[in-house]
């Protein structure tokens, strides 16, 4: 196994060296070489669309007032203060001091509006860009990305959900094979990845399986597996994954201690570090969930507790992506299903608020250091200025990823549906 950064490791080759080697030897088709080339290709120069997404999913609905849209010294702040950031005009809620240093790379949308205030329906809406309807299940951003940008060079699933809650990102009408692969705290091997018997016994079992498969295949089309069941295909992919060196990306214990420390000693911090390592290996979309934002009571203390977890992890992720020259090819989005009410309830909580909540977006061609929209500092007016619908956010994400949001997909029910029915927010993007 090659150690990261060691001589001969994928990271240690430069694209030019590899091209030279490949050209000399005519071995460019060799899988490891082509994979590294592909990874290098994805360190896109400026102007090229992003190729990957990391979604920091704030499950439960974070309070915009205690995170990205503080209104200090107002009644609705209820004591929450604001801090200055590297972007002159932008202030964040106290507690986000580390993210504040990166605000020139981050754009804030403070005027997100949704029509869903129920968790499940709102999660669906934010993850897919469409409201739930009984006729069809829409795919999440990661599923669309994997469907539109296939890459056979990755052994591990290209759509991953770390620390998923009960509603992880789904493949929707693209099928279950585009569902996010779910993993828990990434500080060890992932579940069900290791065979429970020695190699020799496993191989004998697999040979035996061929005997049973041969009987079942009799009288059936020769391409049954390729066109219908994908059973053997999925088995082969699973076996390839089980023996892949790329699996190391899931185990953050292999990262330097100082790097781990920067993300914070939390499951979410480890998840963000794993997301970085997965993106480096060609994974298209990683969703990392931080729950506990549904603060109907004792809002300030609970939000503060989560902010302490989010701040170092998000900031370290942005720093590492920049250092690895991956921020231009990776879109990072941080947000939840809705925001929270401007007014505190009698038990010091904030309730669901789908009118004027915030998301933070960085990398992937997004013009950082700007704010879109504003909410009413008195909390009286629901409608924010420059409201941004969830569909608009999705159309913008697609555009940043080089995917035409208007592209229509014929769904299993025979109805064509656009990948997004929103409008692209050009002002958020650099070009």
């Amino acid at each position: 196994m090659l150690w990261e950064g060691a001589c001969g490791s994928p990271d240690h080759f430069s694209r030019r060296t590899l091209l030279k080697l490949a050209g000399l030897s005519g071995l460019a088709w060799l899988t490891p070489v082509s994979r590294v080339l592909a990874r290098e290709e994805e360190r896109a120069p400026k102007g090229k669309p992003a190729r990957s997404v990391i979604i920091l999913w704030m499950a439960g609905g974070p309070s915009q007032l205690e995170t990205f849209d503080p209104h200090p010294e107002t009644t609705i702040a209820a004591g929450t203060r604001a801090i200055a950031t590297a972007a002159k005009e932008i202030r964040l809620a106290e507690g986000l001091e580390l993210i504040a240093e990166h605000m020139t790379s981050v754009a804030l949308v403070r005027s997100m509006v949704s029509k869903e205030a129920d968790h499940e329906r709102a999660v669906y809406t934010m993850k897919t860009g469409y409201r739930p309807v009984p006729t069809v299940v829409h795919p999440a951003v990661g599923a669309i990305l994997c469907h539109e940008l296939p890459d056979e060079n990755v052994d591990i699933p290209r759509h991953i959900s770390i620390l998923p809650d009960q509603w992880p990102a789904r493949g929707g009408y693209f099928g279950a094979q585009f569902d996010a692969f779910q993993v828990h705290d990434p500080r060890g091997s992932i579940e069900d990845i290791t065979a429970r018997v020695p190699v020799e016994r496993r191989e004998r079992r697999l040979r035996d399986l061929e005997v049973v498969e041969t009987t079942f295949a009799k009288g059936r089309p020769a391409d049954l597996d390729a066109t219908t069941t994908l059973h053997r295909h999925a088995t082969e992919r699973a076996l390839r994954m089980m023996s892949s060196e790329q699996l190391v990306a899931f185990d953050v214990r292999q990262a330097p201690a100082s790097q781990r420390a920067a993300y914070g000693d939390t499951a979410f911090g480890r998840g963000c570090l794993a997301a970085l390592r997965l993106i480096e290996r060609g994974v298209r979309c990683v969703e990392v969930t931080l729950g506990g934002w549904d603060t109907h009571a004792n809002n300030h203390e609970l939000q503060r507790r989560n902010v302490r977890i989010l701040d170092p992890a998000f900031a370290a992720l942005l720093r590492d992506l920049k250092e690895r020259d991956l921020l231009d090819s990776t879109l990072v989005l941080c947000g939840g299903e809705f925001g929270r009410t401007p007014k505190l309830n009698p038990v010091g909580g904030r309730d669901h608020w789908p009118y004027g909540f915030s998301v933070a977006i960085a990398g992937g061609g997004v013009r950082g250091g700007q704010v879109l929209g504003a909410t009413d500092p008195t909390g009286e007016r629901r409608e924010p200025s420059q409201p941004v619908g969830v569909a608009d956010l999705h159309a913008t994400l697609h555009a940043a990823l080089g995917i035409n949001p208007e592209k229509e997909i014929v769904t299993p029910v025979g109805r064509p549906i656009a990948l997004s029915d929103g409008r692209v927010l050009r002002s958020l993007l650099r070009s």
Binding site: A117, D118, H119, E120, R121, V133, P134, T135, V137, P157, Q166, G175, A176, Q177, D179, F181, Q182, E191, D192, I193, T194, A195, R196, R201, R204, R205, D208, L209, V211, V212, E213, T214, T215, F216, K218, G219, R220, P221, L224, D225, T228, T229, L230, H231, R232, H233, A234, T235, R237, A238, M241, M242, D351, H352, P412, V413, G414, R415
Partner: protein
């Protein structure tokens, strides 16, 4: 500190041992009771069922002939028993059931007896209730809805077990009032209440969508925001006029009730103002009763015997339950004026004539020759084969639902039937193991009749997951693999028993040779070890994971 039970330990062990012994005796008796399946229907009804099934078969024969298609040969009986068991109970037949089925003489219609036996079994009503619940209320959860949903599923199971008229329980779902704990059927309505905003009451838009799809097989919810873009059939007004029937429903201290003061208003596309929307049904207005509460009028219209979309939708759903594919696709989008697939109108007529008898409908469909065809295809060109699959000239190949995989896995690990008569401990274990498995394997959600291929996580769960290991490892008490290894008189009998228990068929000569040779000649490891490997292999096959 000593544990509190220390002084009673001996007594507790004795009670547990006695309990197990009694259970074993009872279980033996139950196994002995299984061999003869009683006919559920009387002779006259059985003849009627055969006659209707034959007319359906004739309709398919005519359609295949017109298309120049040849149908597949009949499937082996065990394959068909497996299909029925998976469709009605969500599991494969147990080895005990297979032995009992095979004890019937060749002249008997064993399949009909098997269907009747399963329909009388609580496993079927529980399983079918869950399948119906997905159509009625979806799979949305959350702490409040989860419990309400559970109450609704139990109620549905009771209706199905009693074989109460589908028309009657559909009326109850649409029109009931009261508290959701004492009137579980009212949860069809309450499930649309936003738990964070109960004062807004049930969501008439979601209810209209559910009613139109689940009971009428039309998707007029597609015109919620605009007129139909693909045809002139549906207007935006159709949907909102249907929604208006639910506008009076509200939540009160006495549960769901209708408030005559409440009105439904909507701003149609292109209009500047909201306007009152009066309730009206989207077709066959002449069948709408003039009197009664709004939801009650709607319920009576939906279930009216002359409102054929209601019957067709149930036919399509029952067909989908048995074939894992609806007769008309998509399931909940049947054209009002046809054309209809072969057999649909015949089955709808019979259903209406017999007061929406669900059991009878399932028995008729299972009695058709179409249901008993093999899933292998007659040799032919690829496009012809595709057409044969589309028109049911071959039994459709479909992936098992996650709970079917879990249920089959757990059943294959037991030689006896894991049903309501099984030991409570094994049922509890099964419940939790099944739940955990489905969570890992991935629930299919409400899109349950879509043909979707297997996924990598699913393969990992079956190859390396703990449940497969737990239920195949060397364990004489819990696992059939070990029991077969210990009890089978010869290697060939052991291999055959494993095949029957897992794949519901006997091994082919090549398979038998391969595995018997392994058992006879590889003495380096125990027979239990070989059986564990054989179980793993069979469970990981395409054949196990697919309905065929």
């Amino acid at each position: 500190m000593k544990p509190w039970f220390r002084p009673y330990l001996g007594f507790l062990v004795l009670v547990a041992a006695l309990g197990l012994a009694v259970d074993q005796v009872l279980a033996r008796r139950r196994v002995l009771e299984v061999p003869r399946f009683r006919a559920f229907a009387g002779n006259a009804e059985a003849a009627e069922i055969r006659e209707v099934a034959e007319r359906v078969d004739n309709a398919f024969d005519a359609a295949w002939k017109a298309a120049g298609l040849e149908c597949s040969p009949p499937a082996p009986p065990l394959t068909v028993y497996r299909r029925v068991s998976l469709a009605l109970t969500g599991t494969i037949p147990s080895l005990a059931e297979i032995r009992a089925l095979e004890s019937h003489s060749a002249g008997e219609d064993t399949l009909s007896l098997w269907v009747s036996y399963l329909l009388a079994d609580r496993r079927s009503s529980d399983y079918l209730a869950e399948r119906f619940a997905r159509a009625m209320v979806g799979v949305e959860d959350g702490p409040f809805i989860l419990y309400r949903r559970h109450r609704l599923v139990s109620w549905l199971s009771d209706q199905i077990h009693r074989n109460r008229s589908y028309g009657e329980w559909a009326r109850d779902l649409i029109a009931s009032s009261g508290i959701w704990t004492t009137r579980p059927e009212v949860n069809f309505v309450t499930v649309t209440v936003d738990p964070n905003n109960e004062q807004e009451g049930p969501d008439e838009v979601r209810l209209a969508a559910r009613v139109s799809r689940a009971f009428l097989g039309v998707r007029i919810d597609c015109v919620q925001c605009h007129d139909d873009k693909f045809s002139d059939r549906w207007k935006q007004t159709h949907f909102h006029e249907l929604a208006s029937f639910f506008a009076r429903a509200e939540m009160s201290i006495t549960g769901v009730r209708d408030n005559p003061e409440k009105k439904y208003e909507y701003r149609y596309l292109g209009r500047s103002e909201k306007e009152p929307v009066l309730p009206q049904v989207p077709f066959q207005e002449n069948l709408l009763p003039a009197d009664g509460a709004l939801r009650d009028r709607l319920a009576r219209w939906v279930t009216h015997p002359e409102n054929r979309p209601f019957a067709r939708t149930l036919v399509n759903r029952a067909w989908a339950l048995l074939f894992q594919r609806p007769l008309h696709e998509p399931l909940e989008s049947i054209p009002l004026d046809g054309p209809f697939p072969p057999g649909m109108e015949i089955l709808a007529d019979d259903l209406i004539a017999h007061d929406f008898d669900l059991h009878r409908l399932l028995r008729v469909i299972a009695s058709t020759r179409v249901f008993r065809l093999d899933s292998t295809l007659p040799a032919g060109r690829r496009e012809i084969q595709a057409e044969a699959v589309r028109t049911f000239a071959a039994f459709p190949l479909t992936r098992l639902r996650p709970e079917q995989v879990a249920g089959s896995l757990l059943q294959s690990a037991s030689l006896k039937t894991v049903d309501a008569n099984a030991h409570v401990l094994s049922r509890v274990i099964r419940h939790f193991q099944q739940r955990d498995f489905v969570r890992h394997y991935g629930d299919a959600g409400s899109d349950e009749f879509e043909v979707v291929p297997g996924t990598i996580p699913q393969r990992l769960v079956l190859m390396n997951g703990s449940l497969v290991k737990e239920r195949t490892k060397d364990d004489l008490v819990m696992n059939a693999a070990t029991r077969i290894a210990a009890l089978a008189p010869a290697p060939s009998a052991a291999v055959e028993a494993a095949y029957l228990a897992v794949l519901t068929r006997r091994p082919s000569p090549e398979e038998s040779r391969h595995f018997v040779d392994r058992l006879e000649n590889d003495a380096k490891v125990s027979r239990a070890h070989h059986l564990e490997d054989l179980y793993w292999t069979l469970i990981n096959s395409t054949e196990f994971a697919w309905n065929h």
